[in-house]
Amino acid sequence: MKYFFTIVFSFLLLISFGNTIIVGPAQPIRSLKKAIEAARDKDTILIQSGLYKEGSIILTKSLTLIGEKNTVLDGEKKYEVLLISGNNVVVKGIQFRNSGYSAMNDFASIKLVDCNNVTLENNTVIHSYFAIHISNTTNAIIRGNKITGIPTSEQLTGNGIHLWKSNNAVIENNHIQGHRDGIYFEFVTQSQIRNNLSEKNIRYGLHFMFSNDDNYLDNTFRNNGAGVAVMYSKRVRMEKNHFEENWGASAYGILLKDITDSHIKLNTFLKNTVGVYMEGSSRIEIQKNSFKNNGWAIKVQASCDDNVFHHNNFTGNSFDVGTNGTMVLNKFYNNYWDKYDGYDMNKDGIGDIAYHPVSMYSMIIEQNPTTLMLFRSFMVSLLDKAEKAIPSLTPQNLLDDKPMMKMLKL
């Protein structure tokens, strides 16, 4: 009886999953293009190890393509390797390389246009202009891919994972390096970016434009040209990410430009020139983050309002907060500042006098950047002390009136 069920089930499985076509140098079908031609919806194509140079492969059927350990699809620097336009497609374990370059079109190794339910899993994409390029697609899953760009020809490289006008995408466990922007979102809604590592990209590790209602969680953005940029978007949730070592004159952990109603929670900002740079942003709750060893932990431009900073740890930053105006429409409370030297007489764990996180010197630098030369000089520390006693330049109402005495456990 047991065997009977096994047989019946395996038979059912066979029917529902279609046939398997094997492509390989030693097989009757040697070309992937031919296999796709012969296949019917729901079939699986197993591509055996080998080098396949077939120009642009176009896939419009609902197929599953599975590669072996050394299955390589090569674009010979001339073609887009795999173009997918259809529903229910899975591409797994294939190495793509050498996509073409074009000034007009965004050539990519894997391009998805007008798709629904496509999964790209455990693929390797190397030396491509754009690695994965997705437009007008719903329910794309991009998981566990390893993407490495061309590190030499700087401006001739496109984005690692590029999404345009799509929704409900899931981008997780990918490793992206050496592209223009690691992950790029334009007009993408209701999507998740989880557990990715994006590093050594020319411009941004992650670049968001006009993309509302997206979450990015547990990612690491390290050593990118300018960090991460989140621009012109609403309702973005950023949690548990690591922003590390984004050094340079215009590099930021995160650049927030025209962002509203968003959450930044439990992130770590380590060794960035500026941890968070905000311009024209409103109603953002920034809580429980750790700012460690940055040049500036936060730069809030005067164009920001109604943002709340609470329960963050600020340690080892050269400047805690920088701003360019005296108007302050943002709130700070219950943060831990390692530079706070107040006291706590009633022992409730909260300092009795307020902390002013903007030092006079950071105001001067904002207006005249070359004065940074005098940093850590005797005169500057003298001026800072004088400013603390008799404030004149620093915004008086930018303060944390309930600073924590002890570092918060995050």
Binding site: A103, M104, D106, E154, Q155, R180, I202, R203, Y204, G225, A226, A229, M231, G248, A249, S250, L255, K257, Y277, E279
Partner: protein, 146 residues
């Protein structure tokens, strides 16, 4: 006392060089756009505004230049030159008032102006054949952009 001619020449040279208000080639990946703060990386777009005092503002897209002009940060009489990169030739700066632009969905510029610059009308028309763009002058384009 015999004057030190080398020193003199050096000083004059330095003094003259510092006031040349010319467009500067972009340092891709290093320069940032004055308006949108994005890194400038695309060699087909990008424009600059040079003031009569010689200050050079860089932008990654024409819409950012347009926003900057319309924000009133620089008065019109102080603008010496506005230049844009030729879509067909890297680091070839063109005066915006003397050239033509193709604006259409096929042009993918960094900040969504969808405008590409061409040295003359023929080049613009040639590029636009088979595409759905419109050919505009700078004045017309400024009215369309934010």
């Amino acid at each position: 006392m015999k004057p030190n001619y080398y020193l003199l020449v050096t000083i004059i040279g330095l003094a003259l060089s510092s006031c040349s208000a010319q467009p500067e080639p972009f340092k891709y990946g290093k320069d940032i756009c004055h308006t949108c703060k994005m890194g400038i990386v695309d060699p087909k777009f990008g424009c600059q505004l040079i003031t009569s005092k010689g200050k050079n503002f860089k932008f990654d897209d024409l819409v950012c230049l347009s926003r900057f002009i319309k924000s009133g940060s620089v008065q019109e009489k102080d603008i010496k030159q506005e230049v844009v990169i030729n879509f067909e030739k890297e680091n070839n700066f063109l005066d915006v008032n003397k050239i033509f632009f193709v604006v259409g969905p096929e042009v993918k510029s960094p900040m969504g102006s969808h405008a590409a610059a061409f040295a003359n009308k023929e080049a613009a028309e040639k590029f636009n054949t088979g595409k759905t763009g419109t050919i505009l002058t700078w004045k017309e384009l400024l009215l369309k952009l934010d």
